[in-house]
């Protein structure tokens, strides 16, 4: 009987696990293997070169630049996205009047939720094309003609190496805020309203309720969001590839690790070297996720 139950349960899990092994585990294992070879990517023949790729990588100034850009995204993207999403979610939930019916969100919050969530429905290249058009570098560009009219002057946006990376970061934020807004909103509606009402009766202001009640009770959700956004910041490949000059320019100012991997693997014919970059990125992501989960651990509050 015991033997039979193994087989019964295993039969359910075999197919999903097989798919996972073939399409997730096996590519990972292969990438680790190829990172130790001089594979060109388009030849069945290659040599084992040990750690040579990693040694070259340590002196690759372009890759170092790319890591730097990913780190800027890693700091800016989660901070700003979570801040904005929290503020908006809080306003939608408890931003309205407190009256006899209790604490309410702002009027029309369903509409706002939908509006904020909309970018999430669009695919990344569509978002990239839209924003590249909005931020056209000529004075007659969409955003430039508006800022010029209201006296704010013009900017070359993606053609200016000093701000191009921040333009890409802004689009990443714009595309993510909606999702985290809805996520936080759902988590907030899970907090019993009477807690807020009790606080208000005790004389707590909006800020105090936010910092003393909402934030601690949302901590788990925020922590998860932070890790997801960090992983997004370490990627950013698709936006950079579609929006920027080069891509990765001007003057490598928006070059990210994902782009370095694609360039080396598919254009320079250095798939082995690109795999080594992929391995570095893999461990970087793993370490950052682990550190973040550790550093932000708090006692869980049950309610």
């Amino acid at each position: 009987m015991r033997h039979g139950s193994y087989r019964f349960v295993a039969s359910f899990l075999a197919i999903p696990l097989a798919l996972y092994a073939i399409f997730v585990i096996s590519p990972f294992v292969q990438a680790f293997y190829y990172s130790l070879t001089d594979w060109t990517g388009i030849s069945p023949k290659f040599k084992f070169v040990g750690l040579d790729n990693f040694k070259t990588l340590a002196h690759d100034s372009v890759f170092k630049q790319a890591v730097g850009h990913n780190l800027i995204l890693l700091i800016g993207l989660p901070l700003i996205t979570i801040f904005l999403a929290l503020v908006f979610a809080y306003l939608l939930n408890v931003g309205g009047r407190a009256n006899a019916a209790g604490v309410q969100g702002v009027r029309g919050n369903g509409f706002y939720k939908l509006a904020f969530f909309l970018p999430q429905v669009l695919s990344v290249p569509v978002i990239a094309v839209i924003w590249a058009t909005v931020m056209t570098s000529t004075d007659t560009g969409l955003l430039n003609s508006v800022t010029k009219k209201i006296g704010l002057g013009t900017s070359e946006y993606l053609a200016d190496p000093n701000i191009a990376l921040y333009c890409v970061m802004w689009v990443l934020i714009w595309g993510s805020v909606g999702f985290y807004l809805v996520l936080f909103n759902a988590a907030m509606s899970g907090i019993p309203k009477d807690i807020f009402e009790a606080a208000i009766i005790d004389g707590a202001g909006r800020l105090a309720t936010f910092f003393r009640i909402t934030l601690p009770l949302l901590w788990d959700t925020i922590q998860t969001s932070w890790v997801y956004l960090a992983i997004l910041a370490l990627d950013a490949y698709a936006l950079v590839a579609v929006m920027t000059a080069g891509p990765g320019g001007p003057d490598n100012s928006t070059y990210v690790m994902g782009l370095a991997i694609a360039d080396n693997g598919f254009q320079y014919g250095r798939a082995g070297y690109a795999s080594a970059m992929g391995v570095v990125l893999f461990f970087l992501t793993l370490i950052i996720a682990a550190v973040m989960l550790r550093a932000t651990r708090r006692e869980r509050i049950e309610f």
Partner: protein
């Protein structure tokens, strides 16, 4: 059935995972890697009697597998060529694929050892041909160029095509690529606009500056370029540099010679571009525009000149006004230039390859031989409006203003026309150099910084043990 107590969740998952690995076959999993591994020699087709009519001994029954990059030229011309092939070998079947994502689709086939018989290896995701060449995956085209021509069996194929084709075919000392389309690079203007205003393209730098001033006063930007792809503006700088210093300037660059990028002619040309930017002769914001945006602005009359290749007219057909006369002009001569003004950069492009391990390699070579007949080449020009490397195949065809003017520039340049290969030969050098040209065009660096940075990239490429240095013939 009850769940047995001693079957803990963790233990169970472990067992299931191991079971899965076994079920999918651990060894199969490891051998089914992305790099494949099958390296079986195959015969490469052929085997029939080799005659003047059938110099590669194609067996009529062997099927032919053709993959065409379906870009600006479409793939209708290839279907026409396949009809010619089928007419010659009625017993065969031709498998045709017109695609844009060459590398994603063909990479696994190369790695698996079953590549197609003919590939038009072009477009943004073309296979890196230098890498294919180093690993011996491309068929030697010597036998094609030495074979008798279809139009005249007394002539070799190599005598019926533009000489640049033979040089452009070289990769690692062997002819491996058949570049089929002849491209003329120029700066382009709207002849209708210029005639109305009484302007004409300038021959010297002083005249060019005066012309720019006049155009600027008329409220038009003298020059636009495709800033997101700085390779277009690079074409202007290099054309002025080569005309000033002669062909040796570009040959030294292509051969990765020390200090090739620090040639005085390159400095002059770089400073000329900086002068244009400094005097406000370059369209504001063009640094951030892609080719579609900038070329459309040029079609709308916002800019007078734009650099591009002879595909421009065809590319802009959907947006150009009906009476727009796309016309090719030469770049102006810097003082003390060695070459005359009426020559330009040309290139044999759209490389066709035959994989060494193709099942029907003989058929692939024969397909290329058919493409190099006047009938097939004329068909190409008729369908795409672009000239081919086949001599005299465009005779008698009615040409558009763009094609006629670039044809005239090609003819007037003659032996003085020049070409370059470094971007194709050294794939790791191409993109970084473009980026430096972008910085120069935006005037964020000086001409000296430009030369130093470009030279550093060239030196790094030369030092890299993985680089296979090439020499110009």
């Amino acid at each position: 059935m009850t769940t047995p107590d001693n079957l803990s969740r963790r233990l169970f998952l472990q067992h299931a995972a191991v079971g899965t690995l076994l079920a999918t076959g651990g060894s199969a999993l490891l051998s089914a890697c992305a790099s494949g591994g099958s390296d079986d020699e195959n015969t490469g087709g052929g085997g029939a009697d080799k005659t003047a009519e059938n110099p590669f001994g194609v067996k009529e029954s062997d099927p032919l597998d053709v993959v065409i990059f379906k870009g600006g030229y479409g793939d209708d011309y290839a279907k026409a060529h396949e009809e010619l092939y089928k007419k010659k070998f009625p017993g065969t079947t031709v498998k045709h694929a017109g695609i844009t994502d060459i590398t994603p689709q063909l990479q696994p086939r190369f790695n698996g050892g079953n590549p197609p018989d003919v590939i038009d290896n072009s477009g943004a995701s073309a296979l890196p041909s230098s890498t294919l060449a180093t690993s011996g995956q491309l068929a030697d085209l010597t036998q094609l160029f030495d074979a008798p021509s279809i139009d005249d069996a007394n002539k070799k194929v190599s005598d019926t095509i533009e000489p640049i084709t033979l040089e452009a075919a070289q990769l690692g000392g062997k002819p491996l690529l058949l570049n089929y389309v002849l491209t003329v690079y120029a700066i382009w203007y709207n002849k209708k606009l210029f005639d109305e205003k009484g302007w004409a393209p300038a021959k010297t730098w002083t005249e060019f500056l005066a012309l720019c001033e006049e155009i600027k006063k008329a409220g038009i930007a003298p020059l636009a370029h495709q800033g997101k792809h700085p390779y277009y503006i690079a074409q202007v700088v290099m054309d002025m540099a080569v005309k000033h210093g002669g062909h040796d300037v570009i040959k030294a660059i292509d051969e990765l010679e020390p200090n090739a990028w620090k040639h005085p002619s390159i400095k002059l040309a770089a400073e000329a571009l900086l002068e244009l930017k400094g005097k406000g002769y370059i369209m504001q914001g063009t640094e951030g525009l892609d080719h579609i945006q900038s070329q459309t602005a040029w079609n709308q009359g916002k800019a007078a000149f734009i650099p591009s290749g002879s595909w421009l007219e065809n590319e802009q057909k959907p947006v150009a006004p009906k009476d727009f006369l796309t016309t090719a002009a030469y770049t102006p001569l810097l003082d003390g230039a060695k070459l005359p003004v009426d020559c330009t950069q040309i290139a044999a492009g759209e490389p066709f390859i035959v994989p060494e391990k193709a099942k029907n390699k003989a058929g692939g070579l024969e397909f290329l031989r058919i493409m190099l007949s006047k009938e097939a080449a004329g068909k190409f020009t008729e369908l795409t409006g672009s000239p081919t490397v086949v001599k005299g195949a465009g005779e008698g065809l009615k040409l558009s203003p763009g094609a006629a003017s670039s044809g005239a520039l090609l003819a007037s340049g003659g032996e003085n026309n020049w070409t370059t290969y470094y971007a194709a030969w050294y794939s790791t050098m191409d993109k970084p150099i473009r980026s430096v040209f972008g910085e120069l065009a935006a005037a964020r660096i000086t001409s000296d910084e430009f030369m130093n940075r470009a030279q550093k990239i060239a030196d790094d490429t030369a030092k890299d043990p993985k680089t296979k240095k090439q020499t110009r013939s």
